[in-house]
Amino acid sequence: MSQKSIAEAIEAISRVTALFYQNRIEEGYKELEKALTALNQMVSALALETREGGGVMLDEVRLNEILTDALNALKDGDTILFADIFEYDLKELLSQSINQED
């Protein structure tokens, strides 16, 4: 369950970063809304599984750091830095979580 939601979140992130890298800012923001929903669903799924005593382990501290950095980049209007953080830091963290479970 959580693995699927992580994979979906990664896909959603890729769509956002691709648009920001192509300087298609408006479309990127629209896609970001969807990505945030996917991330929300992922976190809910992880929390549920943790409560049930299983599932994927995610470094929550690191996740918070990454999201804070990303938010700051957005505040500065730096969509490339935001894309970099999502593409390399966040996706890496999420991929690691999936791999850990494997």
Partner: protein, 610 residues
């Protein structure tokens, strides 16, 4: 060797004009940055950080800049042949490289850097040797060689690629250098307009140009060239180019005073008006293949020496009784003049006879040229001297900058002429150009000064000439005429062969088009393409093809403009290529036959030449 030396050596070798301007003093720095530095990205790549107007911008990804550029470039497709890609911003070259990776050999990348400081920083701190060595790339830096950008864009766009232009912006550059970005796109838009006007001009004039060329050959044996004229022209005096704008009327008395103190060149349309008012110019200039006689002079005794191109309207040349001075140097005229022991000369001929007259003055060696009646704008609804009203002045006009800085009513073609003037003035900095009008379009590079003041200042009363004498010249004898006839006859079999080859090509195209529905094999298509390629090479190698080219363009502009646009669907693309090619080959056949007919007529006329 450090980066600066390495890059500068390659700029010197491959971008001569840029190099000369870079090392020249007095470069105008249009975008002085507060700070610029190179820092390391996480992957070790060098990236740029700039501070401009108090804001700091990072011009590359802080993580993986090359990957960022690659992803950015993936949104663009450069599948059409001969595409011109214009990019606003060079930065440290990483984005340009991502584009270059995706280009084919036929395509050109024009890089425009709006910030001199960035360019200088980059050539000091980055290895740009791959970009600087690539023959497909042109580089322009604002304030250094932006004029080259203007010329490059104009010369690279033609009928075959006008529909497949691509413009790119280095991410963020449009926000940082907004004013320059507007300028960049305006330049491209203006160039596209120029190209469209050129194409329309070719469409409109090509057949008539060929007709005039062969009809006017008869005048070559007794003509002068602009080069010959140099021997007789007092270039220490100013030249006055009189165009046909409404403001000529208010300068008539001064033009009468100028006679003998300056050399007066009248543009075709204003001749009659000047003669009516008692001003006999020293020369009259005509270049338009379709200029109507009523817009020149309906008199049959005009003896004012005529400066013209070989393509100028034969009807005008036929009725003109004075000296004819040619300024065309295509291969045919060049060769014939060579047989006559003369040297051909050439002037650029755009759409404006006045610009051509100005070019002729520059070519002759005048160092001071006064423009009269070059309004390039409406005076109310009046477009030309003599009160000629043009309805477009009421409802189909554009606004351009006037000499007083206010916007004034003008036309698209006049705006083009302003640009043509400005280009010519820019490449001839040693020629002083005075614009003697009190209203009208601003021509950058000219000094605005009323004609009476210009005459006071530059035409001293004691320095005057009564008339310009041309002296005696050797007139061509029968033997030379026979040689010219033999030379022209030599083209008949060549044209016949071109026509035969084009007919073979049409047959090949027909077979491919017919068999298309039956699923033609790749081998058959390749064989046909190979044969067509051979035919194309043969046709293009023929000197006479230079004359056919504009004729073919005129009747196949639609096909030519789409021939190099590559479709995603290969089968569809192949079929469409053969369909368009067939129409073009048919035009080649028509052009060959038409030129053959005109050559035969010219031969007959030369044989009867007295």
């Amino acid at each position: 060797m450090n980066y600066y030396d390495l890059n500068m050596e390659l700029i010197k070798k491959n971008h001569d004009y840029l190099y000369k301007n870079l090392i020249k003093d007095g470069i105008s720095h249009t975008n002085r940055l507060d700070a610029i530095e190179t820092v390391k990205a996480r992957d070790g790549e060098n990236i740029l950080l700039i501070t401009y107007k108090g804001n700091t911008y990072r011009l590359n990804s802080m993580y993986r800049p090359v990957e960022e550029a690659k992803r950015w470039s993936e949104q663009y497709k450069f599948q059409n042949i001969k595409t011109v890609i214009s990019m606003f911003g060079i930065g440290n070259g990483i984005f340009a490289r991502a584009i270059i990776e995706r280009m084919d050999e036929s395509q050109v990348l024009v890089l425009y850097e709006p910030c001199y400081d960035i360019f200088i920083h980059v050539i000091n701190n980055y290895d740009l040797s791959d970009i600087l060595s690539d023959k497909r790339i042109l580089i322009a830096v604002e304030g250094v060689n932006d004029f080259e950008f203007h010329l490059a864009i104009q010369s690279l766009i033609d009928v075959t690629n006008i529909k497949s232009q691509v413009q790119l912006i280095y991410p963020n550059y449009d926000h940082i250098f907004t004013e320059s970005c507007v300028k960049f796109f305006k330049e491209i838009k203006d160039s596209m307009t120029s190209s469209r006007i050129n194409i329309n001009t070719i469409i409109k004039l090509s057949e008539r140009s060929i007709y005039n060329l062969f009809k006017n050959l008869i005048y070559l044996p007794n003509c002068m060239t602009l080069n010959d004229l140099k021997n007789y022209i007092p270039t220490h005096l100013p030249a006055i180019v009189v165009a046909a704008g409404p403001s000529v009327e208010e300068n008539i008395e001064d033009l009468k005073r100028a006679k003998g103190k300056a050399v007066i060149f009248a543009c075709d349309r204003i001749l009659e008006y000047l003669l009516d008012k008692g001003v006999e110019p020293d020369f009259v200039v005509t270049v338009d293949p379709m200029k109507e006689r009523r817009h020149f002079s309906l008199r049959d005794d005009v003896s004012v020496p005529l400066i013209c191109t070989i393509h100028a309207n034969h009807d005008i040349l036929r009725h003109h009784v004075g000296e004819k001075i040619f300024c065309t140097s295509n291969f045919l005229v060049k060769e014939i003049l060579n047989m006559l022991g003369r040297e051909a000369s050439n002037i650029p001929t755009g759409g404006s006879v006045a610009v051509s007259a100005f070019s002729a003055c520059v070519n002759l060696g005048f160092k001071r040229v006064i423009l009269v009646g070059q309004d390039l704008a409406y005076s109310g609804n009046v477009s030309h001297a003599g009160g000629e009203v043009d309805a477009r002045g009421e409802n189909d006009y554009i606004l351009i900058e006037g000499i007083d800085g206010n916007m004034i009513k003008s036309r698209y073609d006049w705006k083009e002429f302003v640009i043509e003037y400005q280009d010519l003035i820019a490449v001839n900095p040693d020629v002083e150009v005075i614009d003697a009008k009190r209203r009208g379009a601003r021509i950058k590079g000219t000094v605005v000064m009323p004609l009476n003041e210009a005459l006071e200042q530059y035409c001293p009363a004691d320095d005057r000439i009564e008339s310009i004498e041309f002296g005696n010249r050797v007139i061509a004898d029968r033997k030379i005429i026979d040689n010219i006839v033999a030379y022209l006859e030599g083209y008949i079999p060549v044209l016949k062969r071109i026509s035969d080859e084009a007919e073979t090509a049409v047959r090949k195209c027909n077979i491919v088009i017919r068999d298309n529905g039956r699923g033609l094999s790749g081998k058959n298509i390749n064989d046909s393409l190979k044969r067509l390629k051979q035919i194309n090479s043969f046709i293009r190698e023929q000197e006479i093809y230079n004359l056919m080219d504009s004729y073919i363009t005129s009747v196949t502009a639609n096909q030519l403009s789409e021939l190099l646009i590559v479709s995603e669907n290969e089968e569809e693309y192949n079929l469409s290529t053969f369909q368009k090619s067939k129409i073009i080959y048919e035009a080649v056949i028509d052009a060959s036959k038409y030129i053959m007919k005109m050559i035969k007529e010219a031969i007959e006329e030369l044989k009867n030449h007295g």
